[in-house]
C-alpha cells in the first residue's frame, strides 16, 4: 500500500495542531508552517537561543539542533527534510537524522514521485553535482545548473560545465563548454548552451534545449542534436507513449511546435511554452499567445477560444487526456481554465490545480480578499482559511483532503466532492 493510499479519508474535520505557536522547546521564533501531504503534521523551522535551529513538528522539537536550517520540505511519502548546517558544513536532515555525508553546500531538495528517493544539489570543494540519499555523484563538475531528477528517482541530470573558462573569455565560451550530465556522466557532445534537461517518464532518455552558436537553437536527445536550426527554442518534453520529443521553436519571428525536428504546429504563435503531453501520449497542449498580449492553451495546435493577458500552470490530468490552466491579468483576477471552459470564479490569487486520479475532478487553492479556500470543479468549500495548502483527492476521487491554517490552528478536513457548493 502506498503512502497516499494509507491516508485517513474518513470524512470530517480535525484540528491537527491547536496552537501553531506552541513548541516543546523555548524558541525565539517559528518560521512558515509546512504541512505533510497527508495533513497530519505541521512543521516549522524553530529558531532557538544560541542561535540554533531545529524543526518543530506538531509542536514537538527535533532532538538535533543545527547552526542553520532552511528549505523544509515534506517528501511525497511524508518524511520531513530540511537543509542544515553544522560546524560549517552542510547536509540534509530527514526526520531528525542528518545524512552522514557533508558538503560545502546543499540545496534544491528533490524527490522521486513516490518519495522513496531524496536527492539534492551539492557543491563540494567548488565542484558541483548531486547527492542521492547522501551518496554523491562520482564525477562533479565546475558548474551544474538546471537540475532535474527522473520520476522514479533513479537518475538525475543537469547542465554541466565541462571546460574551464577564464575571465571574459568569449572565444572559449562560443566554442562550447556545456553539456548535460546524467547520473554524473556527461554527454560526449558539447554545446554553447544547454537548458531545461528533461527525462522521459521511464527515466531512460534525456532531452535538452541547446544552442550551437549564439543564433542556432535546437534540441538534443541523449546528446544527439537535431539537425534543424531555430531562432530560439524552449525546453523539450517527451511523449510518454511514443518517446517522441516536442519543443516550442521560433522561426521567422513566430513560435511553432517541433516534434522530432519536424514542424508539427506551424509557427504562427506569438509565444508557445510549457507544453505537456497527456500521460497516454494522445494529446499535446501548450500555453500559446495567439495575438500580442492574448494567451490561451492550444491542444494539438488548436487554441481554446477564450484568451487572457496571462496563462500559467498548464496541468494535464493523470487520466482522460484533459488539461487545466490558470488565467490572470496583471497577477490578479485569476480564473481557472479547464478543457477550454472558463470557470465562473475570479480570485486575487490561485495556486496550482490538482486533478483526481481518474481525471474527473479538478481542485485548487484560491484566495479572495485575504482569505483562502479550496475550489473543486468551480465550486468553493463553504469555509475560508488564512492559508490553504494544495488539496488532494482520495484514490477513488470522491473525497477531498483540505489542509489549512486558521485562527492559529492547523486544520485537516476530508470533504466529499459534493460538499463544495459555493
Amino acid at each position: 500500500m502506498s503512502f497516499a493510499q494509507s491516508w485517513d479519508f474518513t470524512p470530517g474535520a480535525r484540528v491537527v495542531a491547536d496552537d501553531l505557536r506552541q513548541c516543546s522547546r523555548e524558541y525565539e521564533w517559528l518560521e512558515e508552517p509546512h504541512v505533510s501531504p497527508d495533513g497530519e503534521r505541521v512543521a516549522m523551522v524553530a529558531a532557538l537561543e544560541g542561535p540554533a535551529f531545529t524543526m518543530a513538528v506538531n509542536g514537538e522539537a527535533w532532538e538535533t539542533t543545527f547552526d542553520k536550517a532552511w528549505y523544509p520540505r515534506f517528501s511525497p511519502d511524508g518524511r520531513l527534510t530540511v537543509l542544515v548546517q553544522a560546524d560549517g558544513d552542510w547536509t540534509l536532515a530527514v526526520d531528525d537524522v542528518a545524512w552522514e555525508e557533508q558538503y560545502g553546500y546543499v540545496w534544491n531538495t528533490m524527490f522521486s514521485a513516490s518519495g522513496d528517493i531524496i536527492a539534492a544539489c551539492i557543491q563540494q570543494d567548488g565542484e558541483y553535482g548531486f547527492s542521492f540519499d547522501g551518496t554523491p555523484w562520482e564525477t562533479l563538475y565546475e558548474n551544474a545548473n538546471q537540475p532535474v531528477i527522473s520520476k522514479d528517482g533513479n537518475a538525475a541530470a543537469a547542465v554541466v560545465q565541462v571546460k574551464s573558462l577564464a575571465q571574459a573569455d568569449v572565444v572559449t565560451f562560443q566554442e562550447g563548454i556545456f553539456s548535460v550530465a546524467v547520473n554524473g556522466e556527461a554527454w560526449d557532445s558539447i554545446f554553447v548552451n544547454c537548458w531545461n534537461p528533461v527525462f522521459d517518464p521511464a527515466g531512460k532518455n534525456v532531452a535538452a534545449t541547446i544552442r550551437r552558436s549564439l543564433y542556432d537553437y535546437s534540441v538534443a536527445v541523449n546528446g544527439k542534436a537535431w539537425t534543424g536550426s531555430y531562432a530560439c527554442a524552449w525546453g523539450p518534453a517527451f511523449n510518454p507513449a511514443t518517446g517522441a520529443v516536442a519543443a516550442p521553436v521560433r522561426k521567422a519571428g513566430a513560435w511553432g511546435m517541433a516534434i522530432d525536428d519536424a514542424m508539427a504546429w506551424e509557427p504562427r504563435f506569438g509565444q508557445l511554452w510549457q507544453q505537456a503531453f497527456s500521460p497516454d501520449g494522445s494529446k499535446l497542449a501548450a500555453i500559446a499567445c495567439t495575438r500580442f498580449g492574448e494567451f490561451t492553451v492550444a491542444v494539438d495546435g488548436a487554441p481554446w477560444g477564450a484568451t487572457f493577458p496571462v496563462v500559467t500552470d498548464l496541468t494535464p490530468s493523470p487520466a482522460g487526456a484533459r488539461f487545466a490552466a490558470l488565467a490572470s491579468d496583471h497577477n490578479t483576477n485569476f480564473a481557472v481554465l479547464c478543457d477550454g471552459k472558463v470557470w465562473d470564479g475570479r480570485y486575487d490569487m490561485a495556486y496550482a490545480p490538482v486533478w483526481s486520479a481518474d481525471g474527473a475532478h479538478l481542485a485548487l487553492a484560491v484566495e479572495k480578499a485575504g482569505r483562502q479556500t479550496i475550489v473543486v470543479d468551480g465550486k468553493a468549500y463553504p469555509q475560508s482559511f488564512d492559508k490553504c495548502y494544495a488539496p488532494a483527492f482520495s484514490p477513488d476521487g470522491k473525497l477531498v483532503l483540505i489542509r489549512a491554517l486558521a485562527g492559529g490552528k492547523c486544520h485537516r478536513i476530508v470533504a466529499p466532492v459534493t460538499a463544495f457548493t459555493g
Binding site: 571574459a168 568569449v170 549564439l214 521560433r250 521567422a252 498580449g293 500559467t312 496583471h330 490569487m349
Partner: protein
C-alpha cells in the same frame, strides 16, 4: 567633420567579430533583420528625420566633446542611414564603427526624444544597430561576457546556484547581530512581494542586501527572495542585442515570482534592470503588460513612507542633490516620488539643472560601462557636462537610485575632482531610520 573612423578603439570582441564578415554576409543579415524585425517604426524614423540637428543639445556626448559626430543624428547617420544607403552591403570595417557608436557612444538614455520636434527615438534606432551587430557577432568583449553569463546562469556575474542562497544566509546572519530575529526569507510561497536585485549585489555590494533586509524588517513587510535562478533582474543581453537570451532571463525572473505566488515584484535600485523587466523583455515574450506587477525601489520606498512604515531618528543635514536615472524617470515617470522620498530623508536638497526628465545621463547606462576598460575614457570625458552639472550644485552628496549611475557618477566625480559621494536611497534610509531593538 570628424567621424567615428577618427577615434576607433581596439576591442578584442569587435576585432574578432569583423574578421569573420564579408559585405555579402552583412547584407544578408541586414536585410533579414529589416524584413523580419523592423516594422513601420524604423521606416518612419528613417523617412521623417529632417536633419535639423535639434537633438544635438540633448546628448551629453555632444555637449561634452562638442564634436558634431557625437550628436544623436550623427550617430544615426554613421550607422543606420549608412546601412540603408548601401542596402546593407558595407565593408566589415563599417560594422566595427557601427558597433563602437552603438555600444559605447550611446546610452540609450532617450533624452534626445524630448528635443526632437518629430519625436524620433534615437535610442531605439541605436538598439536596432546593436541587434544587427549581435547577429553579426560584433560585440564588445566585456559586455558579451556578461551576456554569456546570463545565458548560462540566468545572472550577470557567473554567480553559481549555491553562492546565491549562501550569500543571503551569510548576510542574514550578519544582520542578526544588529537586528535579532531579522530574516531574509528564501522561497516563501505566498509572501506579499518578491525582492529581486542585480548580480553585482551578492557579488560585490552585499551591504545593499543587508540594508534592504534591515529596512523591510523595520517596516514589517511580508517579502521573499527566490532560492533559485530568476533572482537576478539585470539584463545585459538586452543591451548586446541578444533578444533571445534577454527573454530567457526575464522568463526565469517572472516565473520565479509566479511560482512563489507573490503579489508583485519589488526591484532594487537599478535603472536598466527596470527597463528590461518593465518595458522591453516582457513585450518580447508576448505580454502586453506584466504578468506580475513590478515596482522599482523608488516607488516602494515612497509607499513605505506614505504608510508611515519608515520612521527616522533624524534627517540627513548636509546638502544633497538628486540624479534622475533615465530608465526610471524618463522610462517610468518616478521624478516626483523620488523627490518626495529624498525630501523626507534630507533637510537640504539642491536640485541640479536640468533635472527630472531633462536630466543628463550618467553616461554609464545602456550597457556602456559594461563594455569595460577599453571604452572607459571616452565615457568619462564624454560626460564633462554631467561633471559641470554636479559641480554647480556645490554639494558633496549625490543621491542616485541606480547601480549603473553610481558607477558612471563615481568615475566622473573622481576624474573631475568633484569631492562628492554617491548614495543609494537604501543607504540613507538605513542610516537614518529608527532601528527596531
Amino acid at each position: 567633420m570628424k567621424t567615428i573612423a577618427d577615434r576607433l578603439i581596439e576591442d578584442e570582441g569587435l576585432r574578432r567579430g569583423v574578421g569573420r564578415l564579408t559585405p555579402e554576409k552583412i547584407q544578408k543579415v541586414f536585410k533579414e533583420l529589416v524584413a523580419g524585425e523592423c516594422g513601420a517604426r524604423m521606416k518612419t524614423y528613417m523617412e521623417t528625420c529632417v536633419r535639423c540637428g535639434m537633438c544635438a543639445k540633448a546628448c551629453h556626448y555632444y555637449m561634452s566633446h562638442k564634436d558634431p559626430s557625437y550628436t544623436p543624428v550623427a550617430k544615426v547617420s554613421q550607422t543606420m542611414w549608412r546601412l540603408f544607403d548601401a542596402d546593407g552591403k558595407v565593408d566589415p570595417e563599417v560594422i566595427y564603427q557601427c558597433a563602437q557608436v552603438a555600444y559605447t557612444e550611446c546610452n540609450l538614455c532617450r533624452r534626445c526624444i524630448h528635443y526632437c520636434p518629430l519625436g524620433i527615438d534615437t535610442g531605439y534606432i541605436i538598439s536596432v544597430v546593436r541587434r544587427l551587430c549581435h547577429k553579426l557577432g560584433v560585440t564588445p568583449q566585456y559586455i558579451q561576457d556578461t551576456a554569456h553569463s546570463h545565458s548560462a546562469t540566468m545572472n550577470q556575474m557567473w554567480v553559481k546556484d549555491d553562492e546565491w542562497p549562501d550569500t543571503l544566509q551569510w548576510q542574514e546572519e550578519e544582520a542578526r547581530e544588529e537586528f535579532p530575529g531579522l530574516r531574509i526569507p528564501l522561497d516563501v510561497e505566498g509572501a506579499d512581494f518578491m525582492y529581486s536585485v542585480i548580480a553585482p549585489e551578492p557579488k560585490f555590494r552585499t551591504q545593499l542586501i543587508y540594508q534592504a533586509a534591515a529596512i523591510f524588517h523595520a517596516a514589517g513587510v511580508s517579502w521573499t527572495m527566490p532560492a533559485t535562478p530568476g533572482w537576478d533582474n539585470s539584463n545585459m543581453a538586452m543591451f548586446t542585442g541578444d533578444s533571445e537570451i534577454m527573454a530567457r532571463v526575464e522568463r526565469a525572473h517572472y516565473e520565479a515570482a509566479q511560482r512563489l505566488r507573490v503579489k508583485r515584484i519589488v526591484m532594487g535600485e537599478c535603472g536598466h534592470a527596470f527597463r528590461a523587466v518593465y518595458d522591453v523583455a516582457n513585450r518580447w515574450l508576448g505580454w502586453k503588460w506584466h504578468p506580475v506587477p513590478v515596482v522599482h525601489s523608488v516607488e516602494f520606498f515612497w509607499e513605505l513612507i506614505q504608510q508611515g512604515r519608515i520612521k527616522l531618528t533624524h534627517k540627513f543635514a548636509e546638502p544633497v542633490t538628486i540624479h534622475d536615472p533615465c530608465n526610471v524617470i524618463r522610462g517610468r515617470g518616478l521624478m516626483e516620488k523620488l523627490r518626495e522620498v529624498v525630501h523626507f530623508l534630507c533637510d537640504n536638497v539642491v536640485e541640479m539643472t536640468p533635472n527630472r526628465e531633462h536630466n543628463y545621463c550618467c553616461c554609464a547606462g545602456g550597457g556602456v560601462i559594461n563594455c569595460g576598460p577599453p571604452f572607459k575614457n571616452v565615457r568619462i570625458v564624454g560626460n564633462s557636462i554631467k561633471a559641470e552639472q554636479l559641480k554647480a550644485t556645490g554639494v558633496h552628496w549625490c543621491i542616485a537610485p541606480c547601480h549603473n549611475c553610481h558607477g558612471g557618477l563615481d568615475d566622473i566625480i573622481s576624474k573631475f575632482d568633484l569631492n562628492m559621494h554617491t548614495k543609494f536611497l537604501g543607504d540613507l534610509i538605513y542610516e537614518l531610520m529608527e532601528k527596531p531593538e
